[in-house]
Subunit: 234 residues, 2 copies
């Protein structure tokens, strides 16, 4: 088995972009996989595609639309539930949870790993995800790794190297690695421009602010507004 | 939460048919789900459909064809790999393993459970599956249950009540419950009639033989031939 082969789950956002750079820097050979699970912000997949292509990485997009009727109830996938505005750790962000989403994505990625002889599935969850998303917590990923390690004839592990890092730390690492974050999409709304007000936008703004760097995806006016929003000025 | 609601993964075969009867007998309210993962014996899904319909049970079929390109290498899903003949526990049966299949199916079923407020996902694995399929072993299902129990805002468990029973015992239970096993399909080949020679056919024949009942799916001639095959006469 070629143990340099690894699977990286890539959303099109900043954490998985950083993860992709990290595994390349570590000398591994990533195979990227993204999921269309009916997310409003499906445009993140275009960002994922362009990002992987710019790095010359094999990238698969898995269409999960067939399972959508079974996993309803999230504002990220239902047009009749509004995406909440506010701080990413606030209680109203619960509506953005998609039932069992990460277990579904990880299990498919593990099947892919077995199929191509990759030994690890990398997942970009970071500590800021923990408050709302149980399937981003260390104990979830630890238990996923424990079951994954005995599920197939070949050994596959799940690694989430950012699980104890904040988004600010992840961006710090990415900036050091030279990542162009203009190529990463976060906003849950998925409109023409970032809404600046959803949980994903607020977390992103905090991460750049705390790194004392303007978000390169935004215009100077948008960046100014994003800062005012997270500081509660507007 | 209506704790009588449960999900049952139904293949169209004998174990899950028995499981469906069992949960109904136990006073639960089953929602059946089946998966089209590109199996040769996709006709099992017609059996699943007819079986559920005869019991008046809600039945969903999830089309996983979008993930097939990622989980290759099994004789059950690749037309260029032959289905092996012989005893179901023989070493050459390994080619019938589909990479991480059961974790994928279970994770989607858990998402479905969360979505409709069901507290348990029932899975029909029995002890005869253990030798070839790691994702049918007690330790796999135990670890799946452990991760499932913390993956979502609501508690969902995985139950595999036949995990320590042989197929003979499962059929014994089913016969006692009055199940018409002519409505359950097993053969991996998925042709017009059962091949009588694949692992699924051989295991089925042994289970009926040991219950001293003829397989009601087979003609008397086929049953006689099936017995001769498992006894090594032909």
């Amino acid at each position: 088995m070629n143990t340099k082969k690894v699977i990286v789950i890539v959303s099109g956002g900043m954490d998985s972009a950083t993860l992709l750079y990290k595994v390349i820097t570590d000398g591994l050979e990533p195979y990227a996989v993204s999921f269309n699970y009916g997310q409003r912000h499906v445009k993140e997949l275009d960002y994922a595609k362009t990002f992987c292509s710019s790095l010359g990485i094999d990238h698969k997009v898995v269409d999960l639309s067939a399972i959508l009727p079974l996993i309803q109830g999230s504002s990220l996938t239902s047009s009749d539930i509004e995406v909440p505005h506010g701080h990413y750790a606030a209680d109203n962000m619960k509506s953005t949870v998609v039932p069992n989403r990460n277990m579904i994505m990880l299990s498919i990625a593990v099947g892919y790993a077995v199929s191509i002889g990759a030994g690890t599935v990398y997942f970009g969850a970071q500590s800021g995800d923990n408050s709302q998303y149980r399937d981003c917590r260390p104990e979830f990923l630890d238990r996923m790794d424990r079951v994954t390690s005995i599920a197939n004839e070949v050994l596959v592990h799940i690694e989430a190297p950012f699980i104890h890092m904040s988004k600010t730390d992840t961006v710090k690492l990415g900036l050091k690695l030279g990542i162009k974050y203009a190529g990463a999409w976060s906003c849950y709304e998925g409109k023409e421009r970032p809404c600046l007000r959803c949980g994903a936008c607020s977390e992103r703004a905090v991460a750049f602010r705390d790194n004392q760097v303007a978000d390169p995806l935004l215009t100077p006016e948008e960046w100014k507004e994003a800062l005012q929003i997270v500081e509660g000025v507007v």
